[in-house]
Amino acid sequence: MIRERRGQAGSLESCDALVIVELSEEKKGILLELDSPSLLSYEEAMKSAVIETLCSLGVADALVKIQDRGSLDCTLRARVETAARRALAFQKHGGTI
């Protein structure tokens, strides 16, 4: 059984984003589910922000779910980083934290 290694960060308040990162043991790359009012204009920029942030933390395989509420780039990156770090900490501590 694959243990859940999941981190969540952010909120559904205006200017924020709720981000869930589930680390995967299978080599599937990054699977991104992105819901945002800014998709039309900023989808590519948002995807890049997510991928760059995960890469900088060494996360290559994960399911990422984002409900964006008009967050700026720096906020989205912060929420993704926090969720990923929480998932990694969960993994490192075997789910004991």
């Binding site: 960060a9 952010g10 308040e13 205006s14 200017c15 924020d16 967050s71 700026l72 780039d73 720096c74 906020t75 990156r77 912060a78 929420r79 980083e81 926090t82 770090r85 929480r86």
Partner: protein, 302 residues
């Protein structure tokens, strides 16, 4: 005084609130405090730290001093706050729960190490200690003198009175002693004195009266917890027409005395010496900051 940054208002902004962090410059405060300490629940310390770090890295805050209230180094969160935030070069750290000079020296040394590692100018991150306990209150002067980074002294009324076992009143009599000693220690150390928050955001009259009083005591500014308090505090810090007029006449008389090369100066039959001139300059600086004075010296209507 080591530092002339105007700090009539220091507005607390919860470090985990992206909407307020992004808009921090629009509220009109002289200084903002991105709060990683009491405004943040324990489970969100990491997310606030990362969000504030990213905001400092990406956003510009023209016309406002940006400071960060980090967690004390005696908590499990303090060191990570320092390590993440110092490299972004905020104007100052607001250090809570300062009790002894050693607390400040420890913080100073860690900031120095991190400034060196991240190649930002040594000494650029200032410190504003916050005194929140009876022990801190009894060590105010040694705290004020403990580091060259210190630019102001601040106390936290809620924690301080809780530690004393005092009762909070609207008039704030229970703060008379800490206020007087904060101003005195600040003046001895050559730094600013900043007053604590007024917690009832709906009581503008009470806030105004309190700020008039703390200005009379010698305070240079006050922490605020809601944007709507900013204008009230600034109004209370704006000198009266009479003060402005007197200050302008003091400076004019001083200029005339300099032309005549006369050493002693009098105005309206009263002696004017260096402290009077210094006070006049401060009043005119405050008046200009409050946009209370036109160039020719008449006052704008509110």
């Amino acid at each position: 005084m080591k530092d002339f940054t105007l700090r009539r208002t220091s507005l607390y902004i919860p470090g985990n609130n992206p909407g307020m962090l992004v808009n921090a410059a629009v509220f009109g405060a002289d200084s903002v405090i991105f709060d990683l300490e009491d405004a943040i629940p324990l489970a969100e310390k990491d997310s606030a730290r990362i969000l504030v770090r990213n905001a400092l890295r990406s956003l510009r805050y023209p016309g406002v001093e940006v400071t960060v209230r980090v967690n004390s180094l005696s908590t499990p969160f303090g060191r990570a706050d320092f390590e993440e935030i110092v490299p972004l070069g905020p104007s100052a750290f607001r250090l809570p729960k300062c009790e002894r000079a050693a607390d400040l020296r420890e913080a100073d040394e860690l900031i120095t190490e991190l400034e060196g590692r991240s190649k930002i100018p040594a000494g650029s991150v200032k410190i504003i200690p916050i005194i929140e306990t009876a022990l801190g209150g009894s060590n105010l002067l040694e705290i004020a003198r403990s580091s060259d980074r210190i630019v102001a002294l601040n106390y936290g009324a809620e924690d301080y009175t809780a530690d004393l076992g005092a009762v909070r009143t609207r008039e704030g009599r229970e703060l008379d002693d800490i206020r007087a000693r904060t101003v005195m220690a600040a003046r001895i150390a050559g730094v600013q004195a900043l007053d604590s928050v007024f917690t009832d955001v709906n009581d503008s009259e009470g806030l105004f009266a309190e700020v008039v009083r703390i200005r009379e005591l010698g305070f240079d500014g006050k922490s605020v917890i809601h944007p709507r308090q900013v204008a009230v505090v600034h109004r209370a810090f704006t000198p009266s027409d009479r003060e402005i007029s007197f200050a302008q006449r003091v400076l004019k008389a001083m200029e005339e005395a300099a032309v005549k090369n006369s050493g002693v100066l009098s105005l309206d039959g009263r002696m004017v010496d260096a402290p009077v001139v210094a006070k006049a300059r401060k009043i005119l600086a405050l008046a200009e900051a409050g946009r209370g004075v036109k160039k020719e010296g008449t006052r704008h209507e509110e």
